[in-house]
């Protein structure tokens, strides 16, 4: 189906997107003629069963993959038309990623992990340190700045992941099952944090989740099934 909210202030626009993977001779259609528009400032939950293409759609929006057909535009810029090199720069400027398994560098402390995306900017070391301190304060982990990931709990690691995602003040925060590896309490803390980022800081967030409890924190939920979007849960 076509998702068609008001066009004004649309930050993410996915138009007529197909995504086909090939396994040998077999073509697997993950997404078919998909349309999605996400206004700036929205906290969108993307739900659906395993293999429905949620993460694939998130990857297309985040410029980690390209559609087989159709267009993906973020803030008016055609992401699918960028070269690999341009995409890397674009991601660094516009996208913050939060991963299910946190994806922190085990050899770096929390603050060095958060600093990573800033290495791609022209900020001085002092400026980077300020940004890192602010991001860690926002996720409530200033006191754990010097700790290595292995010494942090899952919830704390994910908060470091979120701090890394927001440290460059990206246009869009993409979260792939951010609570999928956490217990309920730690998951709730993460969701509180995401909600606060959306409400208080106006961050546009797209979150892939299996969990209706997590999706309930979003301002809007869409469901993906068999490559198509709907506003209703899949039955």
């Amino acid at each position: 189906m076509s998702d068609d909210p008001t066009n004004s202030g649309t930050l993410v626009r996915v138009d007529g997107v197909d995504k086909v993977f090939h396994r040998g001779e077999e073509a697997i259609h993950i997404l078919s003629n998909l349309h999605l528009a996400v206004p700036a400032g929205q906290f969108l939950a993307l739900m659906g069963p395993s293999g429905s293409g949620k993460s694939t759609l998130l990857n297309l929006i985040g410029g980690l993959d390209r559609p087989t057909k159709g267009t993906v535009a973020i803030a008016g810029e055609r992401v699918d038309a960028l070269s690999d090199r341009q995409l890397a720069g674009w991601r660094a400027r516009h996208i913050g990623f939060v991963f299910q398994l946190y994806n922190l560098m085990p050899v770096l402390t929390a603050e060095r992990n958060v600093e990573l995306p800033l290495l791609l900017t022209h900020l001085s070391k002092v400026e980077r340190q300020k940004h890192v301190a602010t991001a860690l304060a926002m996720v409530g982990l200033s006191h754990r700045a010097k700790h290595y990931p292995r010494t942090l709990s899952g919830g704390e690691q994910q908060r470091v992941g979120i701090a890394r995602g927001i440290v460059t003040d990206p246009t869009l925060l993409l979260c792939d099952e951010p609570t999928g590896d956490l217990d309920r309490k730690a998951g709730d803390e993460i969701l509180n944090l995401l909600q606060a980022l959306n409400h208080e800081h106006g961050k546009t967030i797209i979150m892939v989740t299996h969990d209706p409890h997590a999706a309930a924190r979003a301002t809007r939920t869409v469901y993906l099934n068999k490559g198509q979007l709907s506003h209703e849960p899949v039955t």
Partner: protein, 399 residues
């Protein structure tokens, strides 16, 4: 925003992660480092033989000294002069003189058998008959023990290399040459040159012992200066009473070292080359496992905006660092094990033993580093390209 500084920062950051995560891959890392160390160690070790031999030969000759042989002779073994000819050579223009006369030594050269200390087997040792100016026409010759033999007596003085390599050449001992016994009265050094491999005696005494009449095989001369060589040579070659070959000492010994050094160098490069192929596979394996172990990390960095080119360069640097560690280890081991290691080998021009010390020179160490770098770069390239081409979306989910 993606300027060169930014790019270098990316390379630096990824390289740092790679290096910091090495302890987690210590098995593969150690195997690679030792593999490359082996290549460099063997290469440097083998080539140090050639370098040492060349050094011994180079130390033997100076540009202001010349050797005169019969025309057509490649070595003293096949040369020959009568007394009159050697006088004409000594009196030629350009020959330096002192109060005793021209600095020219007419010499003859025979080979005697002496047992090697290391194996007890007989080896060819050069016994050289010299004249009074022999010490002056050679550089750095000095006695380290005992004294020069007395002229007209059956006595010998021995080079330090010969004394070390062959049994029975200590001062006070006696060697049997022909029917005569010859006491060893002194040991001399000559700055590492070929003379150190020789046993010296009075030319006249040697002529008599070997029934050589008044014949010689070569004339060694000291020239007034290196520039005097051409005039000296022209004078001798233009003299209708002589058919001679005139060579600078330095060129003569360089020529003598060519065959052996080329052989050793070829062998060394061949052996090290074969080992290097193995080491490249070792490096490939290590770097592939490094990429495999860090698939998700690399994908995460790329998702954050780090470029594929920076990933390639960083992994190449990591491989290079491993290779250089191995290279340095190999070089140090080769230096400790081989530098100044004393040995003797056959000089195929004179069919006699030349003693020399292996020389691990800075050039050889540099060569080892170049080999190690090449192994590292070749071994790192494919895994680096693979890392940069990993589909980010898939790799992010790798466990």
């Amino acid at each position: 925003m993606a300027g060169p500084l930014n790019w270098f920062a990316q390379v630096l950051a990824i390289t740092k992660f790679g290096l910091m995560s090495m302890p987690q891959r210590r098995g593969a890392v150690t195997a690679t480092v030792f593999g490359i160390a082996g290549v460099v160690g063997v290469l440097v070790g083998v080539l140090s033989i050639a370098a040492g031999f060349r050094r011994a030969m180079d130390a033997s000759g100076s540009p202001d000294a010349a050797i005169v042989l019969r025309s057509g002779a490649d070595s003293e073994m096949v040369s020959g002069f009568g007394r009159e000819e050697t006088r004409l050579i000594a009196d030629a223009p350009g020959v330096a003189r002192n109060r005793q006369g021209p600095l020219a030594s007419a010499e003859l050269f025979v080979i005697i058998n002496l047992p090697k200390r290391s194996t007890g087997t007989d080896a060819n040792v050069p016994l050289r008959g010299v004249e009074g100016a022999a010490v002056e026409v050679r550089d750095h010759l000095k006695f380290v023990e005992g004294r020069m033999f007395e002229w007209g007596k059956n006595e010998v003085a021995v080079g330090v290399g010969a004394a070390r390599e062959f049994a029975g050449l200590e001062v006070g001992s006696t060697i049997k040459v022909g029917r005569e016994s010859w006491p060893v009265v002194g040991i001399f050094s000559s700055g590492g040159g070929v003379a150190e491999s020789e046993v010296w005696t009075d030319a006249k005494v040697l002529q008599a012992a070997y029934n050589r009449g008044d014949s010689f095989q070569s004339v060694y001369v000291r020239l007034n200066s290196p520039g005097a060589f051409q005039g000296f040579k022209d004078a001798l070659t233009a003299n209708p009473r002589l058919t001679v070959k005139v060579i600078r000492q330095s060129d003569y010994y360089a020529e003598q070292s060519t065959t052996l050094t080329r052989l050793i160098t070829t062998l060394g490069v061949l052996i090290a080359g074969l080992m290097a192929i193995g080491a490249v596979f070792g490096a490939l394996n290590t770097m592939y496992s490094a990429v495999a172990a860090r698939t998700r990390e690399i994908a995460t960095l790329r998702a954050l905006g780090f470029g594929g080119g920076a990933v390639v360069v960083a992994l190449m640097i990591e491989s290079l660092v491993l290779a250089l560690l191995g290279g340095a280890l190999g070089a140090v081991v080769a230096y400790v094990a081989f530098d100044n290691f004393r040995a003797a080998t056959m000089n195929w021009q004179s069919f006699s033993q030349v003693t020399f010390a292996f020389a691990v020179t800075p050039q050889l160490l540099g060569q080892g580093v170049i080999w190690a770098s090449a192994i590292g770069l070749v071994g790192g390239l494919l895994p680096a390209i693979r890392a940069a081409r990993l589909p980010i979306a898939t790799a992010l989910r790798e466990l």
